[in-house]
């Protein structure tokens, strides 16, 4: 336990915490409502299952890739498309900032899986933290969070014993975008549903243009990200091969050999990734501040307006 009890103004502390996030490169940051997280997250995956005296959950989001990244082939983007490492670095720094500034305990929340439960169950839901902090809302693309200004972000969380006033979830959900509603009215699907390479998304939109139902086959999506059971599945196929020739060809076919390459160079933190639903999502790609070029243009517009 910290030795001294300090007189901290929670509003002031929150301001400093959020300023830190933005100064270090986050596009958005907020404090999640801990009671709401506890109400939603299942036992074993609540913040106090990780940090017993947690009082606040801070969530921050960094921007997705550059505008140019959306133009490259999927097999290339798989190597560099996600920017989550930047979010984790800021969160890591924030946990130190909180301890040295306020003298209250803080942790970088590991975004990792629960080792007791296999690779599909995270220790904590960073998505839920971000949603309850009001920096993203669930989309029809398998509940990927979207933001009306920043589009598609990567999130990181910090838990702390510092008391901070919480924000609420976003008032409006930007998904589906108007163009998605039009497409849905004409063909019964939205762009993310239509162009998902394993067709793992479906859903409905109500008469007011809001999400009515979202269906997501996460297991099929996992096959495209390759971060889950690919290696062990390939090994199982290799070991069950009927002949030496089959075993050899399974082991050495280009996409399988590439897995060993990726593991040996530690490629991108994950083995591979799929961005096809976000590639066609108008919010992810065209939100006003979705990429560095749009943010530059917005800053230039603002400067021009101020000069007039």
């Amino acid at each position: 336990m910290p030795k001294r009890k300090r007189d901290i103004d929670p509003e002031e502390a929150k301001k400093k915490v959020l300023e830190y996030c933005l100064r270090k490169g986050a596009l958005a940051a907020g404090v999640a409502d801990l009671d709401a997280i506890n109400r939603i997250a299942p036992a074993g995956h609540r913040p106090n299952d990780m940090m017993p005296r947690v009082k606040s959950v801070i969530s921050l989001g960094v921007g997705g890739q550059t505008q140019g990244a959306w133009t490259v082939p999927a097999k290339a983007m798989a190597f560099f498309g996600s920017t989550e490492g930047r979010a984790y670095t800021i969160a890591y720094g924030l946990s130190f900032f909180i301890e040295r500034t306020f003298g209250e305990r803080a942790i970088y929340t590991p975004p990792d899986i629960d080792p007791e439960l296999g690779p599909r169950v995270p220790l904590q839901s960073l998505k839920l933290h971000a949603e309850m902090a009001g920096i993203g809302a669930r989309s029809l693309a398998g509940d990927i969070l979207l933001h009306p200004e920043y589009g598609y972000m990567y999130f990181a969380s910090v838990f702390t014993e510092l008391e901070l006033p919480p924000d609420g979830p976003m008032r409006e959900n930007p998904c589906p975008a108007p163009s998605c509603v039009s497409m849905y009215r004409s063909i019964g699907r939205t762009p993310c549903m239509k162009f998902c390479p394993v067709q793992c998304l479906s859903g409905t939109i109500d008469e007011d243009g809001n999400q009515a139902e979202m269906n997501y086959d996460m297991a099929a999506c996992a096959e495209m990200t390759q971060q889950y059971e690919t290696i062990s599945s390939v090994m199982n196929e290799v070991m069950s091969a009927a002949s030496a020739e089959e075993r050899e060809s399974l082991l050495h076919k280009p996409e399988h050999k590439t897995l060993w390459y990726k593991m040996s160079v530690g490629s991108g933190g994950l083995l591979a990734q799929c961005f096809e639903c976000m590639r066609v999502c108008p919010i992810a790609t065209q939100a006003p501040l979705a990429d560095p070029i749009r943010r530059l243009e917005a800053a230039e517009d603002a400067a021009e307006e101020a000069a007039e």
């Binding site: 133009t71 983007m77 979202m214 297991a219 059971e229 196929e237 996409e255 066609v280």
Partner: protein, 107 residues
């Protein structure tokens, strides 16, 4: 130790995988259905009503199926691996750079 497999340790037989695998898989968060936007709206009745649709934990599934949680975890993770198709990933190789997925091209 001869004959002492992970099945034995988890107290699971192949018949149990056969009997419960698909159900456990569907009750888990491998398959998710959300109606409306209940988390954002903090609609607690709906949050509770949709727990199974959004995916139960192994502990919650164990209670519903009268199994031990270790049995559920074992069956779920085994079933996930058995369903996993390693060949789908190469679909991505043809996409991007202006090309979108079209199911008709798969055949």
């Amino acid at each position: 130790m001869a004959g002492y497999t992970l099945y034995d340790q988890a107290g699971v037989t192949e018949d149990m995988v056969e009997e419960f695998g698909e159900r456990i898989f569907r009750m888990s968060h491998n398959i998710q259905t959300r109606i409306g936007d209940p988390y954002r709206m903090k609609d607690w009745d709906e949050v509770d009503a949709q727990r199974e649709g959004m995916g139960l934990t192994d502990g919650e599934i164990a209670v519903k199926l009268d199994l031990e949680v270790e049995q559920v975890t074992f069956i779920r993770t085994l079933f996930e691996s058995r369903r996993f198709r390693t060949g789908h990933y190469k679909r991505l190789y043809k996409l991007g750079g202006g090309k979108r997925y079209r199911p008709e091209r798969e055949n």
